[in-house]
Amino acid sequence: MTVKIPVVEKILSANDKLAASNRKKFDAAKVFSLNLMASPGAGKTSVIEQTMRLLAGELRVAVIDGDLATSIDADRAAAAGATAIQINTGGECHLDAIMVRNALQQLGLLQFDLLLVENVGNLICPANFQLGTHNNVLIASIPEGDDKPYKYPGIYRGIDTLIINKIDLLPYIPFKMDYYRTGVEMLNPGLQTFPISCRTGEGLDDWVRWVKKQVRSMKMLV
C-alpha cells in the first residue's frame, strides 16, 4: 500500500539553514557582509578595487572570491589591499552557503570590519542561493542593455541594493534608463540604487559612504 506524506519544504532549505548560520557568524564578529552579484564583465572586481581605493585603509576588508577556475579576481582584490580568499567553484555557476562557510574557516572574521563576497558572474543561479550576507547587491552595467530586469526577474526580486555601473557609457549606448528603472520598480519597489562609473569615479563617493555607514551601525550593535 502507498501512503502520501506531506513535506511542504523549500527544496533549498538546507542551504537556507547554512546561510542563517553564516549570518550568525557575521553578527557575532560584527562584520558587515555584502554578496556582490552580476553578469560577467559588469564590474564586480572593479567595484571592489574602487571601494578599496576610496576606503584608503580606513576599514579592514576581507574578500571571498568565487570563480570557476582562476585566481585573477582574488589577485586583483589582494593587490587593492584586501585579504582575499579564492573559492574555485570547479564549474559551479554560483556560490552557496557551504562554500562561504568553508572560506570563513580560513579567514578569522574577528580581524575584519567588512566582508565582500564576489559571486560567480551569472544573473540566474546566484539569486537562488542565499549566502547569509547582510545585503545582496546586484551590479548591473549599461552595456548589458536596459531589458535585464525583464529577462532576469529572479535576481532583481531578491536584491537589497542595486549598483548601475559604467554610466559614463550612457551617451554611446542606446539604454533607456526609464524603461530599465520601470522594470526594476515592478520587481523591487523603492530599491536603493547607486549609479556609478568605476572608470570616472562618478557616484562612488555615495556608495562608499553608504558602506561605511553600514559598517559603523554594525559595530554599534550590542
Binding site: 500500500m1 502507498t2 501512503v3 502520501k4 506524506i5 506531506p6 513535506v7 511542504v8 519544504e9 523549500k10 527544496i11 533549498l12 532549505s13 538546507a14 542551504n15 559551479e92 555557476c93 554560483h94 552557496d96 540566474i124 543561479c125 539569486a127 537562488n128 542561493f129 530586469p149 525583464y150 526577474p153 529572479g154 526580486r157 520601470t182 522594470g183 520598480e185 515592478m186 520587481l187 519597489p189
Partner: protein
C-alpha cells in the same frame, strides 16, 4: 548548472521524510515549481534518476506542478498573469505591482510504500 545540487537536496528531503514515516520505498515526489524559478524539469529528472539509484528513492517519479506567475496592481487591484514579458498593469499602466504567486520552489509531498506491519498498526 545546479540541477545536481537541487537533486541532492531533493534526495535528502525525500529520504528524511520517507524514513521518518517508515517507508520501504519512496515512489513519487510532488514538486511545486513557480514560473519565475529558473529550473528545468527535464534535466532534473535526468539527474534524479542517476543520483537516486540504489537509495530508498530509487526509481521514484518526479511530478511537477507548474505555477504560472500572477501579479496584482497596487494601484487599481487588477490581477494579471506574466505572459511573454514583464509588463506594467494592463488596466492602468502602473509599475506598482506585487507578485501573487509564481516563485515557488518546494517539495509538497511524497508517496511511499510501507511494510505490511506498518500498515496494520495504522
Amino acid at each position: 548548472m545546479h540541477e545536481l545540487t537541487v537533486t541532492q537536496n531533493l534526495l535528502e528531503l525525500a529520504e528524511r521524510y520517507g524514513t521518518e514515516a517508515g517507508a520501504t520505498r519512496v515512489t513519487d515526489l510532488y514538486l511545486v515549481i513557480g514560473q519565475l524559478s529558473s529550473f528545468v524539469d527535464e534535466s532534473l529528472q535526468f539527474y534524479w534518476d542517476m543520483i537516486s539509484e540504489g537509495t530508498l528513492c530509487s526509481g521514484a517519479a518526479l511530478h511537477f506542478q507548474r505555477v504560472p506567475a500572477w501579479f496584482a496592481c497596487q494601484q487599481c487591484g487588477t490581477e494579471y498573469p506574466l505572459e511573454r514579458e514583464l509588463e506594467c498593469c494592463p488596466a492602468c499602466n502602473s509599475p506598482r505591482i506585487t507578485l501573487l504567486r509564481g516563485d515557488e520552489f518546494r517539495l509538497e509531498s511524497i508517496e511511499i510504500e510501507t511494510s505490511q506491519r506498518n500498515e496494520q498498526t495504522e
